[in-house]
């Protein structure tokens, strides 16, 4: 499909731009860093901010992809095909979830690919890279689950997109705005939990959050589809 290749190309352009910008900045301060006793490596100055950018971009992109998942099926009246097939709502929801997750992972795979090319020039902190990749994967799963649920609530893809964007942006801004360290807004914001992965800290607390967040919205989506059969 031509439009998907377009999207891939544009995203690749955006990420490459950020990558080069960070790499440039690093190269500028590299002579000064060399004089330090324990200087920052390229991984933490280029890879970590790049992943952070990717996470933020994903916050805006994911609703664009998830909006079509169920809302468009309803609008184009193809949902009857799924409902009259021998599929449970669990299979429908998980099928759509995994399909989009794999697609978005492929989309985002340009980031680690670019970063691994740095291995030609220097030693990379592989632990940090892997931690970021895992974090981004879990974050993508959460966004897709939330977007899927909001798409299940409406027949208009645009409303699904704006709704998902509103929730995700709301959580993010509440997280930034909350100054207290133990504020509840920090606990519910996916991006906050991603920060630990970004810094290279593998905390089961954060991983559990992502898994529970995703499962919660997937279960709600399943329930919504069942209700669809009952209430029409």
């Amino acid at each position: 499909m031509p439009s998907t290749w377009f999207v891939l190309a544009l995203l690749q352009f955006v990420f490459a731009w950020f990558f080069l910008a960070r790499l440039d900045a690093f190269l500028e301060i590299q002579p000064q860093l060399a004089q330090l006793a324990n200087p920052f490596g390229v991984t933490i100055t280029v890879a970590a901010p790049l992943y952070n950018t990717a996470a933020l971009l994903l916050l805006m992109l994911a609703p664009m992809f998830t909006m079509r998942l169920i809302a468009e099926e309803r609008r184009n009246q193809t949902f009857a095909l799924l409902l009259s097939s021998p599929l449970s709502s669990r299979q429908i929801v998980f099928g759509k979830f995994l399909g989009l997750l794999i697609f978005l992972t492929a989309l985002m795979s340009c980031v680690p690919l670019m970063l691994y090319t740095l291995a030609f020039g220097t030693a990379l902190d592989h632990g940090l890279l892997l931690s970021n990749m895992l974090g981004l994967l879990l974050l993508t799963a959460s966004y897709v689950a939330l977007g899927l649920y909001i798409s299940a609530l409406t027949t208009q893809p645009v409303i699904a997109a704006i709704g998902a964007l509103a929730v995700l942006a709301g959580l993010w801004l509440a997280d930034i705005g909350a100054t207290a360290d133990d504020s509840p807004w920090h606990v519910v914001s996916p991006l906050y939990h991603f920060q630990n992965f970004n810094a290279g800290l593998l905390d089961s607390n954060d991983a559990a959050f992502f898994v529970l967040f995703s499962l919660f919205f997937l279960l709600l989506a399943m329930r919504r589809i069942d209700n669809n059969r009952i209430y029409g």
Partner: protein, 313 residues
């Protein structure tokens, strides 16, 4: 699995939308090898009934069995024997015909090898051989309707449910689809909803008429045609006698003059005076030109049945 004798059985289905009771205690039965026509005005509840029979809508109460499998206890198993074409065919317009039909087959649990074979068969049945690689959005409405039927039959289900399958097609396409439906019914069983009486006449074995969520008439389509037939004929005489003379013939109930030379003669159902009329016409020189028996059209019958029901309420 051999298809059982009664492929679909629905008992006492009810459904309410908000405060409005839309379907009242509807019961249906479908046998292998027959085409059942669900006839009714727009808004009678045909689409709602079909949605309930296929799992898109849950009835408030009632039982459904497909090939003997309880629809609510084992929904996955039951739906594997169903093929459904809704009012708007559920097509993914950006896919090609092959991709879409393979997806529909895999969706119903067919393995990839079996799906590929079924694809060839389904395309042949629906006349889509040449359209395999085309994108669905680029095809005409007739082709899209055929693809819709193809997805409903590709897994060779025991029960095929078609909601207004020939709407919007041109006459030759309509004829092709009707032939196809008759062929399908030979192997499985078909329920179709329509408000075209010609469709009932040419395709359906049995007819159920729905009005306001209830089934008000149920019979074979041949019987329906004979329902409440007015016994009589139209006779045209070039040299007609006075009306009184015609009315005096044994067996004639009434004569009405339609024009100077045409008369409508009504008689008792079991006593047909046409033989007597013919002899008399020759004897007395009335110059009989034409004698046509009265036959109610299916449309008249349908209107009569639905009006009678409305009056009775």
């Amino acid at each position: 699995m051999a298809i059982p004798e009664i492929t679909l059985s629905a008992r006492n289905l009810t459904r309410r939308f908000g405060k409005r009771q839309v379907i009242h205690g509807l019961s249906l039965e479908l046998r292998r090898g027959e085409v059942l026509g669900l006839l009714g005005h727009n808004g009678a509840g045909k689409t709602t009934t079909l949605q309930m029979l296929t799992g898109c809508l849950q009835p408030d109460s009632g039982e459904i069995e497909i090939c003997g499998i309880d629809f609510f206890k084992k929904p996955m198993l039951a739906r594997a024997h169903l093929g459904y074409l809704p009012e708007a065919p559920p097509l993914y317009r950006e896919l090609s015909v092959d991709e879409y039909l393979i997806f529909a087959a895999r969706l119903r649990g067919m393995k990839p090898g079996a799906a590929a074979e079924a694809l060839i068969q389904a395309k042949r049945n629906c006349g889509l051989e040449a359209a395999g690689k085309k994108i669905i959005a680029t095809l005409s409405k007739g082709y899209q309707q055929r693809i819709g039927i193809a997805q409903a039959i590709i897994h060779r289900p025991a029960v095929i449910v078609l909601d207004e399958p020939t709407v919007g097609l041109d006459p030759s396409q309509i004829r092709d689809i009707r032939t196809l439906i008759r062929e399908l019914a030979n192997v499985s069983s078909v329920i179709l909803s329509t408000h075209l009486l010609s469709e009932v006449q040419s395709v359906c074995d049995r007819v159920e008429i729905m009005q306001q969520g209830k089934l008000i008439y149920s019979d074979t389509s041949a019987h329906m045609q004979m329902h409440g037939n007015a016994s009589g004929f139209i006779i045209s005489l070039r040299n007609p006698p006075p009306l009184a003379e015609l009315e005096g013939i044994a067996g004639v109930n009434s004569v009405a003059a339609l024009s100077a030379t045409q008369f409508r003669v009504l008689h008792a159902p079991d006593l047909n005076p046409s033989a007597a009329l013919l002899t008399l016409a020759e004897q007395r020189g009335w110059q009989l030109e034409q004698l046509t028996p009265l036959q109610a059209t299916l449309e008249d019958v349908y209107v009569r049945i639905t009006d009678a029901e409305r009056v009775a309420q």
